[in-house]
C-alpha cells in the first residue's frame, strides 16, 4: 500500500469521526446560557434561561453601552416579545433597530451554546449585505381599479383646472415624501394605492421602503420608479404603472418636467395635479395641498382636520406678532456647508428662509440677495466676510449631518466642522452655542410647522415658554401618521456634537 493511499484513508477516518462527534451534541440542554452579539455600541451579552421542554423562559440583557432611552426600550421590549412568541422572528423597535437585532442575535448565540438550532425558533441570520436589488414589479399586486362613479374638477397650485375621475384607485407621486400628505387621508391605503414615485437626492424611495414595509407590508412590488433625482419623468414607466392621477410637487423642477409630458399623459387619461410645498406662503401651502388632496381622495373631512391642526400651530406663532417686532434676532442660514466649502443660503422668500421669517428671524441674506439673485432671491452663497461682519445672533443649518429619515440616534454622532472656519469661533452665535440644524427635507414636508415652532421658541424663549414643539410634533404623528415621530432626527444643536 502506497504512502499516499494510507494518508488518504487516515484522513477519511478522521473526518468520519469528526462528523459523528458533532452529531452527538444535538439535544437541547436546560439551564442558563449566555450569548453575545454586536449591538449598536459594541458587544451585547444576554443570559437566556431554557426550560426542560426547550422553551425560552427568561432573557436578561447584561450591562452594556446601548443608548439610554430608545435603546433601553428595546432591551425591555424585545426579550418580552421573544418569550411571548417563543420565537426570534419578532419585529425590531423602530428607531432602535441595531439594538433590537443585537439582542435577537445574542439570544440566538445563547441557544447555540445550549445546543439548540436557532432556526427552529424562527431565527433568520442577518444577511451578509443589505440587498441592493429593487423589488421586482408584480403586475398582479397592482391596485385594483374601481368603477368610475363621478368626477371632480380641482384647481391645483398653479391655478390649472384639472378634472379627475372618482374614486381614485391608484396614484403616482413626483417624490416619495408626497405620500406624507396622503397618509393622514388614507392610512395604510396610501401605500396600497401607490403605483409609482420619483426618486429624490436622498434615495427617498428606499428610505420609505425601509421605514414602512414592516408596518404596511411589501407595497414596493406595485411601485415603479418614474424619475431619477431631478430628472425628466420616465413617460414609459408612468404609462406602464397607469396611475389614476400623477401628483407633482414643485421641488427639483418637477413641475416643468411634468408639463413637458402633459399632452401624452392626457392622451392616456392620466391627469397631472401640481402641488407646491413650500409655496410662497409656507404657513398656507400645506393646508392648500391637504385641501386639494382631500378633494382628489374624497377625504375632505380628514384633510380639514389636518389643516386645522396646522393652522393652530401657525396661529400660535402669529399671535405673538413677531413680524412687527423691532428687536428681531439676526439669522444666517446655510445648506450643506462645512469649513472649507460654503453652502448656499436662502432669503426670506424661499426654502428654509420661509420658516426663519415666520419664526420672526431677521435673515441676513435678505439685504444682499433679495433683489439681486437670479432665481427670485434663492440659492446663493454669501461672501464669508459678510457673514462675519453681520455677526448673526443665530445660525441655522440644514443638510450638514445625517439626512432626512436617517435617525441619528442609531448611526453616528453629529459634527459641526463648519465652526472651524476662520473667524467663526468669535461669532456670537457660535460662542453662545446658538447654531442649530434641522433635518433638511422638513421645510418642504407636511411637518414644516415643526421648525417654525422650534425656531420661534429658540428666538423668543419667553413668548413661547408654554409651547413644546416636540410634543406638538408627537401629537401630530399620533393623530395622523402611521409611525411615531422617531423616523428622523428633526433637530440637532451645537451641544449635541460635544
Amino acid at each position: 500500500m502506497g504512502k499516499i493511499q494510507k494518508t488518504t484513508i487516515a484522513l477519511f477516518l478522521i473526518t468520519a469521526l469528526l462528523i459523528s462527534l458533532t452529531g452527538c451534541g444535538a439535544s437541547v440542554k436546560a439551564g442558563s446560557f449566555t450569548g453575545t452579539a454586536t449591538g449598536y455600541h459594541g458587544h451585547l451579552g444576554v443570559t437566556t434561561e431554557i426550560g426542560e421542554d426547550g422553551k425560552i423562559t427568561d432573557i436578561t440583557v447584561d450591562k452594556n453601552n446601548e443608548t439610554e432611552g430608545i435603546g433601553t426600550v428595546a432591551m425591555e421590549k424585545i426579550p418580552q416579545r421573544i418569550i411571548e412568541a417563543q420565537s426570534l422572528g419578532v419585529d425590531a423597535i423602530s428607531g432602535a433597530t441595531l439594538t433590537s437585532n443585537g439582542i435577537i442575535n445574542a439570544v440566538a448565540d445563547a441557544l447555540k451554546v445550549a445546543g439548540a438550532d436557532p432556526a427552529k425558533y424562527g431565527y433568520v441570520p442577518p444577511p451578509e449585505e443589505e440587498k441592493a436589488t429593487a423589488v421586482a414589479i408584480n403586475k398582479d399586486a397592482m391596485p385594483v381599479k374601481q368603477e368610475i362613479t363621478s368626477s371632480v374638477t380641482v384647481t391645483d397650485a398653479k391655478g390649472r383646472e384639472v378634472a379627475i375621475d372618482l374614486p381614485v384607485s391608484s396614484y403616482a407621486i413626483s417624490t416619495m415624501d408626497v405620500i406624507d400628505y396622503i397618509i393622514p387621508l388614507k392610512g395604510e391605503d396610501a401605500f396600497n394605492m401607490l403605483a409609482a414615485s420619483g426618486q429624490d437626492g436622498g434615495n427617498g424611495i428606499q428610505k420609505y421602503e425601509k421605514l414602512y414595509t414592516s408596518t404596511v407590508g411589501n407595497y414596493m412590488e406595485h411601485v415603479g420608479q418614474i424619475s431619477e433625482h431631478n430628472a425628466p419623468f420616465d413617460l414609459e414607466m408612468i404609462l406602464a404603472m397607469d396611475p389614476d392621477v400623477l401628483i407633482v410637487n414643485s421641488a427639483m423642477s418637477a413641475h416643468k418636467y411634468a408639463l413637458e409630458i402633459e399632452d401624452q399623459l392626457k392622451e392616456a387619461g392620466i391627469p397631472i395635479v401640481l402641488v407646491n410645498v413650500p409655496g410662497k406662503k409656507l404657513d398656507k401651502s400645506v393646508q392648500q395641498t391637504m385641501k386639494l388632496l382631500g378633494q382628489i381622495f374624497q377625504e375632505n373631512e380628514k384633510a380639514a382636520e389636518v389643516s386645522a391642526f396646522i393652522d393652530e400651530q401657525y396661529a400660535l406663532i402669529a399671535s405673538q406678532n413677531l413680524s412687527q417686532r423691532k428687536d428681531k434676532p439676526t439669522v444666517y442660514y446655510e445648506k450643506s456647508g462645512y469649513s472649507e466649502i460654503y453652502g448656499s443660503t436662502a432669503t426670506s422668500v424661499s426654502g428654509w428662509g420661509l420658516p426663519i421669517s415666520i419664526a420672526g428671524g431677521e435673515n441676513i441674506a435678505d439685504a444682499l440677495l433679495l433683489d439681486s439673485a437670479a432665481s427670485g432671491g434663492s440659492g446663493n452663497q454669501l461672501d464669508p466676510e459678510y457673514v462675519l461682519e453681520a455677526d448673526p445672533d443665530y445660525i441655522i443649518l440644514s443638510g450638514v449631518n445625517d439626512g432626512w429619515l436617517d435617525c441619528i440616534k442609531e448611526t453616528k454622532k453629529c459634527k459641526y466642522d463648519i465652526v472651524s472656519r476662520p473667524g467663526w469661533n468669535n461669532l456670537t452665535a457660535v460662542k453662545n452655542g446658538d447654531l442649530y440644524e434641522f433635518a433638511h427635507a422638513t421645510s418642504r414636508s407636511i411637518y414644516a410647522f415643526y421648525p417654525c415652532l422650534k425656531m420661534a421658541k429658540i428666538f423668543y424663549p419667553e413668548e413661547f415658554a408654554e409651547v413644546n414643539p416636540d410634543a406638538v410634533l408627537d401629537e401630530f404623528f399620533n393623530r395622523f401618521m402611521l409611525l411615531d415621530s422617531d423616523i428622523t432626527t428633526w433637530f440637532y444643536s451645537l451641544e449635541d456634537s460635544k
Binding site: 429593487a134 414589479i137 415603479g224 420608479q225 431619477e228 433625482h229 431631478n230 430628472a231 425628466p232 420616465d234 413617460l235 414609459e236 414607466m237 404609462l239 406602464a240 404603472m241 397607469d242 421641488a251 427639483m252 423642477s253 416643468k256 408639463l259 413637458e260 401624452q264 392622451e267 392616456a268 448656499s344 439673485a373 437670479a374 432665481s375 434663492s378 440659492g379 446663493n380
Partner: protein, 353 residues
C-alpha cells in the same frame, strides 16, 4: 508614360469593381446591424412588455392597457431619434473633418454644442426665452438659437479672405471657451435644482423625444445629406490639400463655407432636442474612414450609418446597464467613445497626417 494594355485596363476595372462591391457589402452589413439595434431599442424599456405583445402592437396597432402608446409613441420615436441624431452627428463630424483636414474637428470642437448648452442654461437658470415660446419649449429654442448663432459666426468668419482652415478651428475653439465660460457664470448663480437640470441637459438624453421632434431632425438630415452628397466628388478632392483640389477645379473656399453652414445647421438641430452628445461626431468618421477610405460616395453614408449604429448601440447600453434606469445617453457615448478614440490616436492617426 507607358500605356496600359487592354488586358491591364480590364484587370484594373475588375479590381475597382470588386472594391466597390466590397464597400457596398460592408455598408449593407452595418445597415443590417443597425436594423437589429433598432429592434432591440424598441423591445427594451423600463416597463416589461413581452416580445409577442410588441410584435402585436407593431403589426396590428392594438395591445393591452397603455402598451400601444408606450411602443408607438415612446419607444419607436426614441429608437428612431437615436438613429437620426447619430447619423446627423456622424455626417457633421465627417464633413467638418474633411473640409478642415483636421482629425479632431467635430461640431463639438467648433463650439456648437457649447453654445447649445449656454442657450439651454439661459432657459433653465434665468428662465429667459429668446422668443415668446411656451416655457416647455424655451430650452430647446434657446439651444437651437445659440448653436445657430455660432454656426453663423463661424460661417461669417470663414467668408473673410485669407482665412485658412486652421484659423477656423482656432476660432471655433475660442467660441467653445467663451460659451463654456458663460455657462459657468450661469451655473455659479444657479440654485441647486436648476444646476441639476442643466447638468442633466448637458448629459444628453433621448427621453424627451416626440414624433414631431423626430420628423424635424429627420427632414433636416435628409436635406443636408442630399445637399452635401451632390458635392461628393468635390469633397473627395478636398481631402487632398487646397492647391491640388483647386487644380482639379474645386472652388475650395466656397465648398468649405457651404459645408460649414450645412453641418452646423445639422448639428444645431440634433443637439437642441437631445442635449450635448459627445464623441459620436468624432469617432464615427474615423471608423468609417478605416473601412472605406476617403471616397465621399461611401465615406459620407458610412459615417452616417456608423454614427447611427454607435448611437443605437449606446442607447441599448444605456437602458440595460442599470435595470429600470435609462442612463443619459451622452454619458454612455463618452464612456464607450473615449477608449475608441485613444485606440485611433495610437494606431491609425497616420492616415490623417
Amino acid at each position: 508614360m507607358k500605356f496600359q494594355t487592354r488586358h491591364e485596363q480590364n484587370a484594373n476595372r475588375k479590381l475597382y469593381n470588386s472594391l466597390i462591391k466590397k464597400r457596398i457589402v460592408l455598408i449593407a452589413v452595418i445597415f443590417a446591424g443597425l436594423v437589429l439595434l433598432l429592434l432591440m431599442n424598441i423591445s427594451i424599456g423600463s416597463s416589461s412588455i413581452t416580445i409577442r405583445e410588441i410584435l402585436r402592437v407593431l403589426f396590428t396597432g392594438e395591445g393591452t392597457g397603455h402598451n400601444p402608446m408606450i411602443i408607438m409613441d415612446i419607444r419607436l420615436p426614441m429608437a428612431l431619434m437615436a438613429v437620426v441624431v447619430g447619423a446627423a452627428l456622424g455626417i457633421g463630424g465627417c464633413e467638418i473633418q474633411t473640409i478642415l483636414r483636421n482629425p479632431i474637428a467635430s461640431p463639438f470642437t467648433l463650439g456648437i454644442s457649447a453654445a447649445a448648452s449656454f442657450g439651454a442654461a439661459m432657459g433653465l437658470i434665468l428662465n429667459a426665452g429668446l422668443f415668446h415660446v411656451p416655457d416647455t419649449l424655451a430650452v430647446t429654442v434657446n439651444a437651437f438659437a445659440f448653436s445657430l448663432l455660432v454656426a453663423v459666426a463661424i460661417y461669417t468668419f470663414s467668408r473673410q479672405k485669407h482665412i485658412g482652415k486652421t484659423a477656423i478651428i482656432l476660432f471655433g475653439i475660442a467660441l467653445n471657451f467663451l460659451f463654456n465660460a458663460l455657462t459657468m457664470i450661469l451655473q455659479y448663480i444657479a440654485d441647486e435644482d436648476e444646476l441639476q437640470s442643466l447638468i442633466f441637459w448637458t448629459f444628453g438624453s433621448l427621453l424627451k423625444t416626440t414624433w414631431s421632434k423626430f420628423f424635424i431632425v429627420f427632414i433636416v438630415l435628409a436635406l443636408c445629406f442630399l445637399i452635401m452628397f451632390k458635392d461628393a466628388w468635390k469633397l473627395t478632392a478636398m481631402t487632398l490639400d487646397d492647391t491640388k483640389a483647386k487644380s482639379l477645379g474645386v472652388d475650395v473656399a466656397k465648398v468649405r463655407r457651404k459645408v460649414i453652414f450645412v453641418t452646423s445647421l445639422l448639428s444645431a438641430v440634433a443637439v437642441c432636442f437631445v442635449g450635448t452628445i459627445g464623441f459620436v461626431g468624432l469617432i464615427a468618421p474615423h471608423i468609417a474612414r478605416q473601412l472605406v477610405g476617403e471616397d465621399q460616395r461611401f465615406f459620407m453614408p458610412l459615417s452616417a450609418l456608423t454614427g447611427a449604429f454607435i448611437m443605437s448601440f449606446a442607447f441599448v447600453v444605456s437602458k440595460i446597464i442599470i435595470k429600470g434606469v435609462i442612463l443619459p445617453i451622452g454619458l454612455v457615448t463618452a464612456v464607450i467613445g473615449i477608449p475608441f478614440f485613444i485606440t485611433i490616436i495610437f494606431s491609425k492617426m497616420r492616415s490623417m497626417q
